[in-house]
Symmetry: C2
DNA sequence: ACCTTTGTTGACATTTTTGTCAAAAAATCT
DNA sequence: AGATTTTTTGACAAAAATGTCAACAAAGGT
């Protein structure tokens, strides 16, 4: 038999089902159907549904962490880093909106050893980035504020509109075309807002 | 027997359990335990768990809609309206973060007659608000952009940090006190960001 | 006090979902 | 080909959750 074709198939279909389609509570039957295999194969390859879910989530977490690292590390200006951040993360969140949504659900639900599990999200490289932000604030390149607020603002403006888009699609009385243009313009909108009048050259 | 004491008890405990504690998928047993009643009473008063959930959710939706209406209608300036919006909505989202989170889950999950269900969220009063925003943009009181983006930005900066706070509490290496101050300052941060250098008098 | 209505309880049947296991099938090795 | 290992399948048992129902209890009305 070929290598690990079936295993990979189940995993990638699960990734799509869980974090793109949003069926985080899909039954093993749904998972199997989605991959076009028998249900017991899920157990055969991954032991349990939970283990499969955890595995897929960990893969995505690593992917996201890599994106963040790629954007934030290096010697570029804060403006360029934020610009890269928006670029990379937008695509990721659009592709897997339920990665973010699941995280939100998780962190807001009381559960055992939450602190323990949260340690995986620790990201020391950010501290360097925060210091760069502070430095540019002192230079007047960025409006003065707590650098954490600066960081929070970026992700708020970046993530929230993406995961709320199906809502806005419905409540705003505009065409799909106009909505697409609106969202296409958001990168510029965010950068202008974050860096305000202090024009940056990239 | 007294009026509708038990029914109200179950309802209010459910509201807390679902939308504050975030147990959106609580079993009828958990719901009953939380209210200190027998499980069958949930069915007796509300027919099914789903009906109870829908009822409680509708109540919160109405509450939220009222808050929005209170903030946005009237003759105040856009600055004052946004200020009121932040004030009212912050408390609501902090109290019931899972109202917002459930909505996000809902709208991002494929399901039957989604469009039909979304009609409940339609909010015609917003169009008046959008026109006021446009007018103030023309007057130079607000940075020029699509008024929808203006609106989206407000809720992004308002909601997202609140529902992500347990995450930030963990990944940022600061004390609880500093974090509290950070979040306390957000109203001003948001207003400054949204209205930029155009100082408003209220 | 009696009857009626309302509220409460425990027992039950049904459904859904999960994981295991032994047998069958397919691939691999010698 | 024959033996061995890996993969696939269907059947089964156990667990969890939901809703119904008949019986019981409490309240209110007359």
């Amino acid at each position: 038999m070929k290598d690990n074709k079936t295993e990979e198939l189940i995993k990638s279909c699960s990734k799509d089902l869980f974090f793109n389609k949003g069926k985080l509570n899909a039954s093993t039957q749904e998972i199997a159907d989605n991959a076009g295999v028998k249900r017991t194969l899920v157990n055969y390859y991954f032991g349990s549904k939970q283990k499969l879910f955890d595995l897929v989530f960990e893969e995505l977490r690593f992917t996201f962490k890599s994106l963040l690292h790629k954007a934030v590390s290096g010697t570029a200006s804060v403006y360029d880093k934020v610009s890269a951040l928006i670029h990379y993360c937008s695509d990721f969140i659009k592709k897997y909106p339920h990665f973010n949504i699941f995280l939100i659900n998780e962190i807001n639900t009381v559960g055992v050893n939450k602190t323990e599990r949260m340690k995986k999200y620790h990201f020391p490289e950010l501290n360097i980035f925060f210091r760069e932000i502070e430095a540019e604030m002192e230079d007047g390149k960025i409006p003065q504020m707590n650098p954490l607020n600066f960081y929070i603002n970026i992700f708020a403006l970046l993530s929230y509109p993406i995961i709320m888009r199906p809502y806005y699609d419905q409540i705003f009385e505009v065409s799909k075309k106009e909505m697409d243009e609106l969202y296409a313009s958001r990168k510029e909108v965010i950068l202008k807002l974050i860096f305000q009048h202090t024009q940056q050259q990239s």
